[in-house]
């Protein structure tokens, strides 16, 4: 489910002249066998966006089916497959790889000041593992599809007659390895490839977030891998440790699954938080507030992520003591999350805010993440969870976090680094319009679902009571509005690729290292070793009319260096 992007002829004459990563070599093989992290990032991005189109189509199909009670466009069995495919594709093929593998691959080494990731071959191998996993997932459709829900809960997943269960489990298993190797690569890169001067506390916050994410990827994903393996064996042989008729325990599957899949939520959201830290400070031209707090809150979230999985299982028959402990720990995740949100708000306060498209996505993130995060508190509270469990309230909550936060963060990041990736600017007005349409559509779709859920509409149901219809209709209209927003966004990017204005090296006024190299960056990122400074000190930048971008003002730089020296003495 991917297309390999070949360099566009019109990009040949971009600012970087002949040497940029897009034009360095040409032809299909120069992309298919590239070891350049930037090209691998672009290939990931293309593949992830293609999967997003497929997953989004399934979302529209299932929302359309829910327009009326009973049958609207498809049978109940087909509907079950729609929501399962939507969930599995969006989680495993889109959101998990979207920021670390796609944007992270492109940005991490340049931001760090490195030539590439630590293991370039392993990086390419991860990409092909992703492709392999995606092909298995697609094959599962041909093999009869699957209707287990993206969580593959036993005993249903071991007994359902749909033929695509084993292929999709294999697919997710392979995707897991792709994710593990990307995480491993990033951890080693951050440890071993920081140039002189790039200390841990000079690293941009996006790198801290990717680092925290990588820790979760390497520690949690192996557990998913073995769980899916055991599930495949169990489904093949009709016996296994999840089968209660032989003394196995189906709830054990849930423990294993959520031991991975709760941290996986943070694999999705933590890097998005990193992007937001960059966007908010760069586009409000103000030093990030509470750098260390944001950095350590990423690590804290990564640590907490491993000890809260039981909150997905409050009604699974877990003991009251376990439920209480998991509930309490889940509440504590609110602390690092709130630390971040308050710090972003403080960064905005008295900042010189440029309402660019990335900033609009950043602001949308703040609103949506606040709603998504605070509704999580209802679900972490034991007694309200018993009522809300498995209702649309949960669906709305995790869409606010996974889509409204993680995906919106990714799209914001894509806008932020688009000029760097392609060497082209996009139509700012069109991008902002798309953002507003997506924001409105998103809230119409999912805020309605909070109401549906609190009134008792269960999730994953094909049919419903007539009194719920009005909410379902509004929610479906919202989904279509959102689709229009994403379509506008796609048109905006396509237009930028075809006729976009040439991008300057530093269009937004960023100070981290990627803005020091040309747009698009050269093959080896930096011709000479970059100078590492405070990546959130914007005081030395001024807008240059001729460049149509920000440049470092020598006088202001001298003043800033003198001020820093005074500070040290």
């Amino acid at each position: 489910m991917t297309t390999i992007v070949t360099p566009r002829p019109e990009l040949l004459d971009t600012a970087a002249g002949k040497d940029n990563y897009l034009t360095y070599t040409r032809g299909f093989l120069s992309w298919a066998l590239t070891l350049d992290h930037k090209r691998i990032g672009v290939m990931y991005m293309t593949a992830v966006l293609a999967s997003f189109l497929v997953g989004g189509t399934f979302a529209l199909l299932l929302r359309t089916e829910l327009l009326t009670p009973g049958r609207t466009i498809c049978s109940a069995e087909t509907y079950n497959q729609f929501f399962t495919l939507h969930g599995a594709i969006m989680v495993f093929l889109v959101i998990i790889p979207s920021i670390p593998a796609a944007l992270g691959n492109f940005v991490l080494p340049i931001m760090l000041g490195a030539k590439d990731v630590a293991f370039p071959k392993l990086n390419l191998f991860s990409f092909y593992l992703w492709i392999g996993g995606a092909l298995f997932t697609l094959y599962s459709l041909a093999a009869g599809g699957f209707d287990t829900g993206w969580t593959f809960y036993t005993p249903y997943s071991t007994t359902t007659t749909t033929g695509g269960v084993i292929p999709v489990l294999m697919g997710v298993f392979i995707l897991g390895f792709s994710s593990i190797f990307t995480g491993l690569n990033f951890i080693v890169t951050v440890h071993k490839l920081r140039p002189p001067g790039m200390t841990w506390f000079r690293m941009p916050l996006f790198l801290w977030a990717l680092y925290a994410t990588a820790i979760i990827q390497v520690l949690a994903t192996p557990v998913l891998a073995i769980t899916l393996c055991l599930l495949i064996v169990e489904r093949t042989m009709n016996i296994g440790i999840f089968n209660p008729s032989m003394g196995g325990d189906p709830v054990l599957y849930q423990h294993f699954f959520w031991f991975y899949s709760h941290p996986a939520v943070y694999i999705m959201i933590v890097p998005a938080m990193g992007i937001i830290s960059e966007i908010i400070s760069v586009h409000s031209h103000r030093q990030i507030f509470g750098y260390r707090f944001i950095a350590f809150s990423s690590i804290a979230i990564a640590m907490f992520s491993f000890i809260v999985w039981g909150h997905h299982m409050f009604v699974s028959g877990q003991s009251g003591l376990m439920n209480t402990i998991f509930s309490l720990i889940s509440f504590s995740v609110a602390i690092p999350s709130a630390v971040k949100t308050f710090n972003w708000t403080m960064t905005l306060y008295k900042g010189t805010i440029s309402l660019t498209a990335p900033m609009m996505y950043g602001l949308a993130f703040l609103f949506l993440f606040t709603i998504g995060g605070l509704t999580g508190i209802h679900l972490a509270t034991l007694n309200t969870d018993v009522h809300l469990h498995d209702t649309y309230f949960v669906v709305a909550h995790f869409h606010y976090v996974m889509m409204g936060s993680a995906l919106i963060g990714m799209i914001g990041g894509l806008h932020h680094w688009w000029p760097k990736m392609t060497g082209r600017m996009y139509n700012e007005k069109m991008a902002i319009t798309a953002c507003i349409i997506i924001f409105v559509g998103f809230n119409v779709t999912f805020f309605t679902q909070f109401m549906l859920g609190s009134q008792g509409m269960p999730r994953r149901y094909y049919d419903y009571q007539p009194e719920f219809q009005v909410y379902h209709v509004i929610s479906t209209i919202g989904a279509y509005i959102m689709a229009c927003g994403f379509f506008t966004c796609a048109v905006c990017f396509a237009q930028s690729l075809m006729s976009g204005k040439q991008a300057p090296a530093n269009p937004w006024g960023g100070r981290s290292l990627e803005w020091q190299c040309t747009s698009p960056p050269p093959h080896d990122n930096f011709k000479s070793p970059p100078t590492v400074g405070n990546c959130y000190d914007f005081s030395m930048l001024r807008w240059d009319e001729k460049e149509q971008g920000y440049v470092v003002d020598k006088e202001l730089e001298a003043l800033a260096i003198a001020a820093e020296a005074r500070g040290h003495s």
């Binding site: 093989l29 066998l33 590239t34 070891l35 350049d36 080494p109 490195a114 030539k115 590439d116 990731v117 630590a118 293991f119 370039p120 071959k121 392993l122 390419l124 593990i180 491993l184 690569n185 951890i187 080693v188 890169t189 440890h191 071993k192 490839l193 390497v218 520690l219 949690a220 994903t221 192996p222 557990v223 891998a225 073995i226 769980t227 393996c229 055991l230 064996v233 042989m237 009709n238 016996i239 296994g240 440790i241 209660p244 032989m246 003394g247 196995g248 325990d249 054990l252 294993f256 031991f259």
Partner: protein
């Protein structure tokens, strides 16, 4: 034959080697997590209070003694791999090649012995699809053997490079990486074997 372009982000091979070792540590942790989860899963079902039938069928004779022999062989292979590294550090190329081949042979022998253990279980009518005692035995040992077979591929490369005289005092990172993985499989096997043995009591 298509070859990948060269791209080394490190300034010198020393840093590159160090990074590779660090990466291998992380990989060992990944493998460790896989087995930790598996052993935990085993313990949960083994201690399941709702289990109706006894864990081990009365007709079963217990874990085959071949496993003890294979454990010794696996330890021996780790020892020879360590000696291979020691010889490489001393610039003794033929010695290094000899120990690398010996390790490969012992690793292969371990796989055969595990196969023999399976065969003897099978001969005692311990069928994989009859109870969890048998299922966990076959699945857990198979999971370990799969990792050993993966290690044999790496050992094969090391043995070939060693026979070509590529390793010496200045350059032996390949052996180090392979040894890190191989020794960790030793530790994992001991944990796994101990779990299965205590579980079968």
């Amino acid at each position: 034959m298509v070859t990948l372009p060269q791209r080394d982000p490190f300034e010198d091979s020393l840093r590159s080697d160090r990074a590779a070792r660090f990466g291998m540590w992380i990989f060992v942790i990944v493998v460790g997590m896989v087995f930790a989860a598996t052993i935990l899963g085993y313990i949960v079902v083994r201690l399941n209070p709702h289990m109706q039938a006894p864990w081990r069928p009365s007709s079963d004779a217990g874990l085959p003694y071949t496993l003890l022999v294979s454990t010794v062989v696996l330890f021996a292979s780790s020892a020879t791999l360590h000696l291979c590294l020691v010889r490489a550090r001393c610039d003794d190329t033929p010695g290094c090649a000899r120990f690398a081949s010996a390790t490969y042979f012992l690793g292969f022998l371990f796989v055969l012995l595990q196969g023999e253990a399976w065969w003897s279980m099978w001969m005692h009518h311990v069928n994989i699809d009859e109870n969890l005692y048998a299922w966990t035995f076959y699945v857990l040992t198979a999971l370990h053997v799969v990792h050993i077979i993966g290690g044999l591929f790496a050992l094969g490369v090391v043995a070939r490079h060693a026979s070509e005289g590529r390793y010496g005092a200045a350059r032996h990172n390949g052996i180090v990486l392979c040894a890190m993985y191989w020794h960790s499989l030793d530790v994992i096997w001991v944990a796994l074997y101990a779990t299965l043995w205590i579980g079968s009591r």
